[in-house]
């Protein structure tokens, strides 16, 4: 699983990365987490409000920092699909 955190590096993006890592730890899943900070790359995902959460090239969330529980749900649903 390849997870991308989209955002220029403001507080929200840092928070989303932390929440995502917590969710991964909770699920006991190994995944590569990378940051995408370049604006054209962010825009290429169709996202206009940061932070964005992209898993295996699929946009799961944009524009807000969810709770760890919500990210856990999303990741679990993605793994099951």
């Amino acid at each position: 699983m390849l997870i991308k955190i989209l955002g220029p590096g403001c507080a929200n993006c840092v928070a989303l990365e932390r929440v995502t890592r917590e969710a991964l730890a909770g699920l006991g899943v190994e995944a590569e987490v990378v940051k995408v900070t370049d604006y054209p790359d962010i825009a290429a995902y169709g996202i206009m409000s940061t932070p964005g959460l992209v898993v295996d090239e699929q946009v799961l969330l944009a524009g807000r920092v969810p709770t760890t529980a919500r990210v856990t749900e999303l990741l679990a649903a993605h793994l099951a699909s």
Binding site: P40, M48, S49
Partner: protein, 352 residues
């Protein structure tokens, strides 16, 4: 900290949510209603301070205002966030796509106010709008209105100056955003936009943003945002209220009115020039504005100062530099700054 997904076994979640919500709303109303009485009693009766003395009025102002502003912030940020959870930048773009200038600017300014937006999203939003064919001027109307009409500022203005000044603030912000966008559209600003913006291609997939949220999600977002904003701004808030309290208790009655009052025609542009580099947020600035108003400064001058502080910030200019060339940033600052100066004069004339 992990959040347990298991809910209480007995109460139905919807019932529990209503009870919690109504309880919180009631507690809020009681706290707001008795805030003044509480500090009258604690500072003046128990503390034995004279309300006419410097210490008495300064200390009372500090505690009373701190509690009032905290209550207002939590309530308004919560309500605004829940309301905004129905909008997203992606939806805004869909609504603005294909709009011509004129009506498009008005729509963009209105959407700038209601769309949830953090300044670090300014650049991706700009790229997204432009690549969707939204004209530059219309995009700029959105980008001006968004920070200019700020929910924290609305919360504080409502509490400190009442609904009249608050609607003036919102109306003036919209007018500056619409006019600013129209002007920037006229000067063919495209030549000052970094070329990569026009080359950026969006993938086919359209992000739904916040369409899939349940009411539980929306309420939780409102609460998280209110707590998040408070956690971020409380030091500014206390410093702002502290300075306000000092002005309230100690500044000579006519000092500000003499130097920046209605008699000084340069007061408004000066307030804007002073406000631009003073990057703070509305929370730190408004208690100060309230104290200065009590000391006789006209509302227009103060609103101009506040708008300059909130809407024209150096960090945002640096962010925008990634997509806009310096001439366009300069025009942007000039147009918005000029608009704010006009608004200041207008309010001073209307409200005098």
């Amino acid at each position: 900290m992990t959040v347990s997904p298991v809910r209480g076994p007995r109460a139905h979640p919807a019932v529990r949510r209503w009870v919690l919500g109504l309880g919180a709303a009631l507690a809020w109303v009681v706290a707001y209603r008795f805030n003044a009485a509480l500090w009258d009693w604690l500072v003046l009766d128990v503390g034995g301070l004279d309300p006419a003395s410097r210490w008495g009025s300064g200390v009372h102002f500090f505690f009373y205002d701190s509690v009032k502003i905290l209550l207002l912030l939590v309530a308004i940020v919560f309500v605004v966030t829940v309301a905004r959870s129905f909008m997203s930048v992606e939806r805004t773009r869909a609504l603005l796509g294909g709009r011509r200038e004129g009506l498009g600017n008005v729509a963009a300014a209105g959407l700038g106010v209601v769309t949830p937006f953090c300044s670090c999203s300014a650049v991706p939003a700009f790229i997204g709008f432009v690549s969707a064919g939204v004209p530059i001027g219309v995009t700029m109307s959105f980008l001006i209105a968004s920070p200019m009409v700020n929910e924290v500022a609305i919360a504080l203005l409502l509490g400190l100056f009442g609904p009249g000044a608050t609607s003036l603030y919102i109306g003036a912000g919209l007018v500056v955003a619409v006019a600013g966008g129209l002007v920037l559209g006229r000067v063919h600003a495209e030549r000052w936009v970094e070329p990569f913006v026009f080359e950026a291609r969006l993938r086919g997939q359209v992000v739904t943003g916040t369409a899939d949220l349940s009411w539980d999600d929306r309420l939780r977002m409102g609460w998280e945002e209110a707590v998040g904003i408070l956690r971020r701004i409380w030091p500014y808030l206390l410093v702002g209220i502290g300075i306000g309290a000092v002005i309230h208790g100690w500044a000579p009655e006519d000092f500000f009115a003499r130097h920046a009052g209605p008699g000084n025609p340069w007061a408004v542009p000066l307030a804007v020039v002073v406000g631009i580099p003073l990057y703070s947020n509305a929370a730190g600035i408004l208690p100060l504005v309230e104290a200065l108003h009590d000391k006789g400064l006209p509302v227009g001058t103060l609103l101009a100062f506040m708008m300059a502080v909130v809407a024209l910030s150096l960090p945002e200019m640096i962010l925008l530099r990634r997509v806009l060339r310096p001439p366009l940033i300069a025009v942007f600052v000039a147009v918005v700054g000029g608009g704010i100066v006009l608004v200041g004069y207008l309010f001073n004339a209307v409200l005098a």
